[in-house]
């Protein structure tokens, strides 16, 4: 997508920027302004001719065994990011075995081919790098980043990790212990506690998005090495994976390397289906995770909202930008800069393969917990009574579109974007479509999305903090009964509340 923004849009955006210039209101009289040799500064600079918008570019092809290969070329520095993206993420955890996907993917780095964990790490370190695993709800990425001249060796290690992981019992037990200890540590992390409780509140404990990928102490405790082997067999194979390259590599070279190292990969794994959309229910109560003596309360609010590719995705993203997606958003300006309740308040749209949530959150001073929640609710209601203005929309739109080139400076970011295209079944021109979607949005369509998704009565509320303070501050606000969530959440019970997969 090469065309520039409509001229009118740019003008409106500039007008909005100029409104941020104080001098137009404060310069007392023209004569004085002329006398001041610095008076010219009152007018913000006029931007130059916009440069061509550079969006990430991808090539895609498939090997005879079905493995997709995505390539994004960037040749200025001798560095390449390479990885294998897999379609099974934490949403593929069987009910009652939460934590299995993360544990299994971590296990890949505990030994593969002829190397044990230490030898594997040493081999990467010799290349000046290490292997990296990241797991999301809808997929995983196993990869590394190396200088171009080390790419062959890195490919050989990566091929071992993905195709010939050892998945040994002793390593499994080690990772399992570490994951359990990590859960014990996370109980001390207010942000983690909020995220865990929020997933359950918004999606229900048994929904694939209703839990974090870490699992619970009870669910992890019952995992066996056979579970990991079964999971990996179902997750890894050329028909459920993509090889992603970004950086100093040509598509031709990528084809050679892919065929050489992954051409013989076999496996019957198929990509899991998207989780079913959860029912969106009115808020029944406020979830409280008690953590005594905290000087702040973590507030997290939200609801299931939208899947990647939903026609309303662009509208909702822009609405959320205005609501809480930038520093100058309504929510942050209110809670941080006007009220001084917090270091920051923000919202984001987490669209996923299935319907993902919108989330608004902040850590606020404990003694203004109630007042802060009231402001959250008021800002949501205000989206109705104080509709998103054309100027707000233009600013959000311009910000989203024009930040694209700067958001993809690194090859790591590009390979992650390539993996996302694969996880979410997106077309190669995803970023061009994003730009078109943002450009097509109008105040009416964005307002409609805000109305559709920001109804305060459908917002689940999770609070982490001192239970006495919360009870005193929030108990009488009429938001529903306070429901305490135990720190060591009970494991999901089998057979109850069908998993919506």
């Amino acid at each position: 997508m090469r065309r520039n923004l409509p001229f009118a849009a740019v003008l409106t955006a500039i007008a909005f920027l100029a409104a941020g210039c104080a001098a137009s209101q404060t310069v007392p009289d023209a004569a004085e302004a002329v006398a001041d040799p610095e008076a010219w500064r009152a007018t913000p600079p006029t931007p130059g001719e916009p440069p061509e918008l550079v969006t990430p570019k991808f090539e895609r092809f498939a090997l005879p065994n079905g493995l997709q290969v995505l390539v994004s070329e960037r040749h200025e520095l001798p560095i390449v990011s390479v990885g294998v993206a897999l379609r099974a993420g934490t949403a593929a955890d069987p009910d009652g075995k939460e934590g299995l996907a993360q544990l299994t993917y971590q296990l890949l780095l505990e030994g593969a081919g002829k190397r044990d964990a230490v030898a594997l790490d040493d081999a990467f370190a010799d290349l000046g790098t290490s292997a990296n695993v990241s797991v999301t709800q809808d997929g995983a990425l196993v990869g590394t980043q190396v200088l171009t001249r080390n790419l062959d060796e890195a490919m050989s290690l990566l091929a071992d990790i993905v195709q010939r992981p050892r998945l040994e019992r002793a390593s499994f037990e080690l990772r399992k212990e570490q994951q359990l200890a990590n859960l014990a540590a996370q109980v001390g992390n207010p942000r983690y506690l909020a995220g865990e409780a929020f997933a359950a509140a918004a999606f229900g404990e048994h929904h694939p998005y209703g839990r974090l990928g870490t699992g619970t102490p009870a669910s992890v405790a019952r995992l066996q090495v056979a579970d990991a082997k079964r999971f990996y067999e179902g997750a890894a194979g050329p028909k459920a994976a993509a090889l992603v390259f970004a950086g100093d590599i040509t598509t031709e070279r990528a084809r050679e390397l892919a065929q050489a190292w992954f051409g013989g990969w076999k496996g019957k794994a198929v990509a899991p289906k998207a989780p079913k959309a959860p029912e969106v229910a009115a808020r029944a109560g406020v979830v409280v995770v008690p953590k005594q003596g905290l000087s702040q309360t973590v507030i997290m609010m939200g609801r299931p909202a939208i899947a990647v590719g939903d026609p309303d995705e662009y509208n909702l993203t822009l609405a959320s930008m205005v609501f809480g997606g930038t520093f100058g958003s309504r929510l942050n300006m209110n809670l941080r800069e006007d009220k001084g309740y917090t270091y920051g308040a923000s919202s984001y749209v987490d669209s996923r393969l299935g319907v993902g949530p919108i989330v608004a959150s902040s850590a606020v001073r404990a003694d203004v917990t109630g007042a802060s929640i009231a402001e959250f609710m008021k800002e949501m209601q205000d989206l109705e009574s104080r509709p998103i203005s054309p100027a707000e929309l233009e600013a959000a739109r311009e910000g989203r579109i024009r930040s694209l080139p700067g958001s993809f400076e690194s090859v790591g970011g590009l390979s992650y974007a390539a993996a996302s295209l694969f996880w979410y079944d997106l077309p190669l021109d995803r970023f061009e479509r994003l730009v078109e979607g943002y450009e097509a949005a109008t105040p009416e369509t964005v307002q409609a999305a805000a109305r559709r998704f920001f109804d305060p009565s459908l917002m689940q509320i999770v609070l982490v903090g001192d239970p006495e303070v919360i009870s005193e501050q929030v108990g009488t606000m009429g938001l529903g009964p306070l429901v305490e969530r135990a720190l060591d959440a009970a494991p999901a019970k089998k057979g109850k509340g069908k998993a919506a997969r």
């Binding site: 790490d121 999301t136 014990a184 100058g328 300006m333 080139p405 090859v411």
Partner: protein, 501 residues
Amino acid sequence: MRSLVFAALLAATPSLALADLAPAPAPAPAAVPAAAALPAPAEADDHLSIPFTKYRLDNGLEVILSEDHRLPIVSVNIWYHVGAFNEQQGRTGFAHLFEHMMFQGSRNVEDDAHISMLQYLGATGLNGTTNFDRTNYFQTVPSHHLETALWLESDRMGFLLDTLTPEKLAKQQEVVKNERRERTDSAPYGLANEKSWQTLFPAPHPYYGSVIGSMEDLDAATLDDVRSFFETWYAPSNATLAVVGDFDPETIRGTIEKYFGTLPSRPKPEARSVAPMELASTVELRVDEKVATLPKLRISWLTPSVYQPGDAEADVLAIALSGGKSSRLYKRLVREKKLAQSVSAWQQSLGAQSVFVVDAVARPGVSTDRLLAEVDVVLDEVRARGISAREVRQARNKLETGTVAGLQSVGGFGGKADQLQSYNHFLGEPGKIEWDLDRYEAVTSADVQEFARSVLDPSRRVILHATPATAAGPKAAPPPAGKKPAAGPTTAPAPAGKGGR
């Protein structure tokens, strides 16, 4: 602390930012690998350099220009050569509080407009950060908005005080106190880490305040403090402007002259000098941890300052100790003995004096005293025999390629602009990247051994035991014989430092 690429690698937390401004709203659990930049080795014969020119305006402002036309974006990055190091007694946290005031508008820029304007024109890598030694402000903008960024920066450099009000100061005092609540008081190990730091640098050492400062001192700040801090430290002669990226080399000097050339000159403030701290003996702190749930051991030593002899050895040793699964501390404490949940070691490189830190978080039921004994076994081994040539080579490769990865960004945290600025600030010369990497080329196993022996002296260090009350389980072992625990919990014994006046 060459760049945040390393900082991330080494788990250091060197500075406080104005706000949590994510480049794009990213869902929490999906770590974008770009952030966890994986290092790769540089070609041994590949001479890295960042082309630049440096000059000075008549009013003393230093300018560094570096062209890079890979993407249509340009970074505007200003370092003011003032940090927490320059704070007065009773005003801990002031340099950082002042940084917040820099976003509150100036003569021609409305309150709070700065970040909003930039976000709405597509800026990325946008923030202000304060650390012990300097304060920086940066934004990467689409190249046609370069002048807007220069206009914004010049207005606050020249005319910040015009619109200063008591209300603005009061509001930012609240915001910063909230930041302290979020990042220190309510963060796992936040208060315990602060106590350990303050034992290394007891008052009145200017590092004592740990950048964020105390609630009392933040409350005590006055408008006069803001005015005199600005007059003294924010003089053009005490600042360096770097413009890195896609700018027009024909017009850039004229444009910079237009916005910054007429800002009144003020004398460059005298550099402060503080006698180095020394620990006469080991200080052991036992702190009752209120937020985290697992015990943590932290060992800290005073070490040579950034870029001084010993600094490179410290970086190499840190990687050998905790750089991956094959590293010494990880192998022994996490894999073999299963005593620690995580380990990390890093050199926090600072202008006046650096600190080398070893952190180990215990598995449930393991005491910090047990961890201490095990860390000492590993360190004694290094003191007795050094590290292997392979470990030196691996660390060197990782550090070199961390640098290559850092060159992918023109600005943001730790990109090219910060890299040039860092060399310029500490060494008086931006073009030191090759020299910097050569330092690591020169490090030998014997150097690392000597560093471990003479600098990481077991009898001159601060040992922090942060123990949650809930973690005192039956498996918690008593301290080994001969190690006398310090007085009581939360008691910071009088540190045996001298100097710091």
